[in-house]
């Protein structure tokens, strides 16, 4: 408030000397913003518009001519007779399968972990760091590591199963549904710490008095969880669900490095296909159109999730 008045005074240029008045030149804020805005404009705003422009052209990076084709690239994605239709929607389906399979796990399992770590006990910080550690590694490391561990013949996972006398010939990265199970499991292992830490912060924001009151009322653990913990976590939950959904639908590295899209193209995700089309075959008009279709689908899903959570009185 004080700031607003002060700046109004400053812009009038007749502010009295001295006193607790903020005197800032009109250009000052913009000068502070300039370096960032140059980057932001060039590498965020401009590409957002430029990508739309590219998607309206037959944009072959390697050819000189890039004829305007209007909505033809989009049309091709919806036309079952076109060359890209089949593969694009298969990749969208793969992204959908992965998202639908991974999001519930990535929302629920870290919540369990966070509840486990939310008590105070010696070594809490240590365990929190341990569970978070894989997240610190990049998808390239995770990918090559699990490709090795999950190798059906030589991998440690089947090796371990063999050692304890369980079936040890599961085609973890080459057969269905195993490839999906592997990709989801690896992703849960890799990113569980991120959501868990966000839940933990949310849990610590729930006032303790609420739990004490519930204890006096004689509610059990489950009632406490349903009536205090879950409602208290609602804003965090919305963030976690949307954020996880966006992350899962951008899945790319795990498929590229672990299953290499196999079997067939079953685990080739939308991003993998878009990257192949746009950045390997340099078919950028089509690829740009695909990425806007994907983005639109994600925006829609985000809005729906947001509404679902907001409109309900209790989670």
């Amino acid at each position: 408030m004080a700031l607003a008045t002060a700046s109004a005074a400053a812009t009038r240029q007749d502010a009295p000397p001295g006193g607790r008045i903020r005197r800032v030149g009109i250009a000052t804020p913009y000068l502070f913003l300039l370096p960032y805005l140059l980057l932001f404009g060039t590498f965020v705003l401009a590409p957002a518009a430029y990508g739309l422009w590219v998607s309206l052209h037959d944009w072959d990076y390697l050819l000189p001519g890039k004829p305007f084709v209007g909505l033809a690239n989009y049309h091709a994605l919806l036309d079952s007779g076109s060359a890209v239709y089949e593969e694009f929607w298969q990749s969208m389906r793969a992204t959908g399968i992965f998202t639908v399979a991974s999001v519930p796990l990535l929302v629920v399992v870290p919540l369990g972990l966070a509840l486990l770590l939310n008590r105070s006990f010696p070594g809490r910080t240590f365990f929190r760091a341990v569970y978070f550690a894989p997240y610190v590694l990049g998808v390239a490391v995770i990918g090559v590591l699990w490709r090795f561990l999950l190798d059906p013949n030589l991998g440690a996972v089947n090796g371990l199963l063999r050692a304890v006398g369980l079936p040890s010939d599961t085609p973890w990265i080459t057969g269905l549904p195993w490839a999906w199970i592997s990709l989801v499991a690896v992703t849960v292992w890799w990113t569980i710490g991120f959501n868990a830490v966000i839940y933990l912060a949310g849990l610590q924001d729930i006032p303790r008095e609420l739990y004490e009151a519930a204890r006096i009322d004689g509610g059990g653990k489950w009632a406490e969880f349903r009536h205090i913990t879950l409602p208290g976590l609602r804003p965090v939950l919305v963030f976690v669900v949307i954020n996880t959904m966006l992350a899962s639908s951008n899945m790319f590295g795990q498929s590229l490095l672990i299953t290499q899209g196999a079997p067939g193209n079953e685990t080739r995700t939308a991003i993998m296909y878009i990257a192949e089309k746009g950045l390997r075959e340099y078919n950028m008009g089509t690829a740009a159109a695909m990425s806007y279709v994907l983005t639109l689908a994600l925006l829609l899903a985000s809005v729906i999730i947001f509404r679902l959570f907001r409109d309900r009185d209790a989670v």
């Binding site: 903020r22 957002a48 929190r128 830490v197 878009i274 983005t295």
Partner: protein
């Protein structure tokens, strides 16, 4: 009673820890095995004939896969980008947190809005823009565009908003201008937040995969993540070499995390909640 419960409690926690740690330990152990031993069935737990074969191969002077070079490239790109982000994001965040100007709300909304745009939407047009700058296949492509992200600005703005105004006002009374207040008051008070952002930015860039895979073409310009993917292609069955490369990419990240874990975890949770 409580004692047995305590034991059960720690058994669960330690059991879970093994799930997270064992694969990483296995990676490290494998990198010290011979090629033959790494793929032995059943696998050996510890190297029977410990070998530096993997690292000898990775560091060989005439290597087709110059890992040391990738390592230095990664270090340079991630370090330079972290510095760039600290500079531009702290300045922008100061304006957004502490100064008044026309269009502030709109601008902030626009910047935050882009947090929700999937990175991939921009990757193809950004490729074309980077190409126009002549940055394809150079580290510039890895350093500059990524610094335009909204996270740093958002993160520092939140921190600046929480700083007490008194010191700032005192400096003002002594005639300090906005730049002096920013550099002599705000920044020194923000060291923990700046360090947190530096580490988070460094790790994100160090681990970035999709962008370097497509904008870098020559192996000598690679960073570690795309390098690992060609290692996997080049040494298909030489797992110690691949695991050695993965270890080289993980160990610095893990050490950095261990040293700064409290800040990283807090930074992640704080920024996550406000998203």
């Amino acid at each position: 009673m409580t004692r047995t419960r305590g034991i059960a409690w720690y058994t669960i926690l330690i059991g879970l820890s093994l799930i997270f740690i064992a694969p990483l330990v296995w990676m490290l152990i494998t990198s010290f095995k011979t090629t033959g031993e790494a793929t032995r069935v059943p696998p050996t737990l510890l190297p029977q004939e410990p070998s530096t074969h993997a690292y000898d191969t990775l560091f060989a002077a005439d290597s087709q896969t110059p890992v040391l070079r990738w390592f230095l490239n990664s270090l340079l790109a991630a370090g330079a980008q972290a510095v760039l982000i600290l500079v531009v994001a702290s300045m922008a965040a100061y304006a957004l947190a502490r100064l008044e100007f026309r269009g502030k709300k709109l601008l902030f909304g626009l910047i935050i809005g882009t947090l929700f745009v999937p990175v991939f939407t921009l990757i193809i047009p950004n490729f074309l823009i980077v190409d126009r700058f002549g940055w394809l296949d150079t580290l510039w492509a890895l350093i500059v565009p990524g610094a335009a992200g909204a996270f740093g600005v958002f993160f520092l703005r939140q921190f600046f908003l929480g700083l007490p105004r008194e010191l700032e006002e005192a400096a003002q009374l002594e005639g300090a201008n906005a730049w002096q207040i920013f550099s002599k008051v705000i920044l020194p008070l923000s060291k923990p937040a700046l360090a947190t952002l530096a580490v988070i930015s460094f790790l994100a860039n160090w681990n970035d995969f999709i962008w370097p895979v497509y904008v870098l073409f020559s192996p000598e310009h690679f960073t570690l993540p795309p390098g690992l993917s060609i290692l996997q292609g080049a040494y298909t069955i030489d797992y110690p070499v691949i695991m050695g490369g993965a270890a080289l990419a993980s160990v610095p990240a893990l050490i950095l995390f261990l040293i700064t874990q409290r800040y990283v975890i807090e930074g992640v949770s704080r920024s996550g909640l406000k998203g």
